[in-house]
């Protein structure tokens, strides 16, 4: 199986992992299967200092220092508890800026305003969703990225119904350090990788996944997307990364379920 071509899910795992490149010793907070695999892959490879939880309050490290992390037959069961991070401590790490989360979005607009609260008028919503959760605080305290498993005009919208997470246009109106701490890093979708390097920090196409054209992305996006003259292809997983994903991090193939 290791020899097989990378799947879309595996390309997305690596694109999510890349979001945390260079972050060092901060808490990576992924939401969803593919971002979680991405953060774990980053921790196992190019970003070993990342902190990751078990989804609840324990911080887990891949293996004790000096132990072999690369052998593929132990799954994740050899992770060791290296710390304790209950919710109140997550809130403190968040406010201290020691975190980079990758959240989902029911709606995301051109400047990165994110909605996970409700669809329609907030006073009487057509569809009530989760609520704002930690998005307002996350986005004015530390770097945030987004994972969109179904890139479409329903999600990538011209205007969000409710700004749970703060985008660049709103952040531009802030004073003090909130504006300085605000940073939207990247958006990974099932079609492409995007960033906010367009005019006035608008969303820009960074790369397209194999088999996806620039016009495919433009057609599935509800606003005008900035793009360089030549849009490169998203980086493919290396052989070592594929082996880690397939044999160690996700032998049961949970990564495919998020894209169906």
């Amino acid at each position: 199986m290791s020899g097989a071509e990378p799947t879309l899910a595996e390309i997305c795992v690596v694109a999510c992992a890349e979001a945390w490149r260079g972050d060092g010793a901060i808490l990576a907070s992924p939401t969803g299967t593919i971002p979680t695999l991405g953060a774990q892959l980053a921790q196992l490879t190019f970003e070993p200092e990342l902190l990751l939880t078990d989804g609840e309050a324990m911080l887990l490290a891949p293996a004790a220092n000096g132990e072999d992390c690369a052998s593929g037959d132990r799954g994740l069961d050899d992770r060791v508890t290296e710390g304790w991070l209950p919710f109140r401590q997550v809130f403190t790490m968040l406010a201290a800026g020691k975190r980079h989360s990758m959240m989902g979005a029911s709606q995301l607009d051109q400047f990165g305003n994110q909605n996970i609260s409700c669809i329609g008028d907030w006073a009487l919503p057509k569809a009530q969703l989760l609520g704002v959760r930690g998005s307002p605080g996350n986005t004015v305290n530390h770097p945030v990225s987004y994972w969109i498993p179904r890139h479409s005009r329903r999600v990538l919208v011209e205007r969000v119904d409710m700004a749970s997470g703060v985008g660049y246009d709103r952040a531009a109106g802030l004073t003090g350090r909130a504006r300085q701490f605000h940073e939207l890093r990247r958006v990974v979708t099932n079609l492409a990788v995007l960033d906010f390097a367009g005019p006035d920090h608008s969303m820009r196409l960074q790369s397209v996944h194999p088999g996806v054209s620039v016009s495919d992305v433009a057609d599935a996006t509800g606003f005008l997307l900035a793009a360089p003259y030549q849009v490169p292809q998203t980086r493919l997983p290396t052989g070592a990364e594929l082996a880690l994903i397939r044999e160690r991090l996700d032998p049961d193939g949970r990564r495919d379920e998020e894209l169906t």
Partner: protein, 298 residues
């Protein structure tokens, strides 16, 4: 105390805080009794899970103060969704951290605490009463002045407690249960899996898991499986099969009536008996399926 004794201390129109998080270590026995009571017009403050769902389904909630309502393994809470989509409840929607800050402010008897969360987001638009405050120091930075969230009463659920109200959590996260108790000055009620002699508390875990002390609570009540169907590790995990049954039942009024008749029509002991029956039926089904396999193998 008894469950009935706790409910007897409450009045309609009160603001009640509920500890735990999502579908984790919720004081469900007290919540079930509250849902079955004659009280109404409540304001509920909670990191919402099925506690909010049950109370909304029972028509007890006038206003909810929260950052989310979720069943964790089932992301969206069906009763909360329907109530919002029908305009049946009022909502104060805050960032999760703002809720923490509001409880902390109330516990500290402060009118507000400054915070960066909320700036630039629509939380300020949908809560027009929220104010900002400027730092009086040379930085002059602007913050949201998160108002205190004082409570008239609070419910929390612990793994162990002693009879005088010292409470112990044995799972991975204290959540914000101590703050709920302190924010409810004088009217916090703690349920627990088991009341043990004080000297036995430290046998179960290290001193820092003694989260609640007897100055924080007005009463303690033993409710075995009282957090069901939410998780209460290490005593028990979330009952995912039952939670799925709950969520399915919430999909239509008819299914919900049936669920309520089966599980919510009696007192806590009857609820626990009905749950035991539900679990036994599942085990029997699984066993007969396994038996059939054995016969085929034989």
């Amino acid at each position: 105390m008894t469950i009935g004794g706790v409910i007897g201390e409450l009045r309609s129109g009160m603001t009640i805080g509920i500890g735990g998080w999502g579908s984790r270590r919720k004081p469900m026995a007290l919540v079930r009794a509250l849902a079955a009571s004659s009280l109404s017009d409540l304001t509920i403050v909670s990191y919402g899970g099925p506690d909010v769902g049950l109370l909304v389904a029972a028509g007890k909630v006038r206003r909810l103060v929260t950052g989310f309502v979720s069943l964790d393994s089932i992301p969206l809470e069906p009763h909360f969704r329907r109530a919002r989509q029908r305009g049946a409840i009022k909502l104060t929607e805050l960032d999760e951290g703002m809720l923490h800050w509001g409880l902390l402010a109330a516990a500290h008897r402060l009118p507000f605490l400054p915070m960066r969360a909320g700036l630039g987001s629509d939380v300020l638009r949908i809560n027009p009463d929220l104010r900002t405050v400027r730092s009086p120091y040379s930085d002059g930075e602007q913050f949201v002045a998160v108002p205190a969230l004082p409570l008239d009463a609070a419910f929390v659920h612990m793994n162990r407690a002693d009879a005088s109200g010292n409470g112990q959590y044995l799972g991975p996260d204290p959540y914000f249960d101590d703050l709920y108790c302190l924010a409810a000055a004088g009217r916090a009620y703690m349920s627990c899996e088991r009341i043990v002699p004080t000297r036995e508390l430290l046998a179960a875990g290290p001193p820092q898991c003694l989260l609640i002390n007897r100055a924080m609570v007005a009463g303690v009540v033993e409710t075995p499986h009282g957090a069901h169907f939410t998780s209460c590790v290490p005593d028990y995990d979330r009952d995912e099969a039952f939670q799925a049954r709950y969520a399915q039942a919430a999909a239509t009024p008819e299914a919900w009536d049936e669920f309520a008749a089966e599980f919510l029509s009696g007192a806590e002991a009857e609820y626990q008996a009905a749950v035991a029956q539900f679990r036994a039926a599942r085990v029997t089904t699984a066993a007969s399926a396994a038996g059939a396999t054995d016969e085929v193998r034989a």
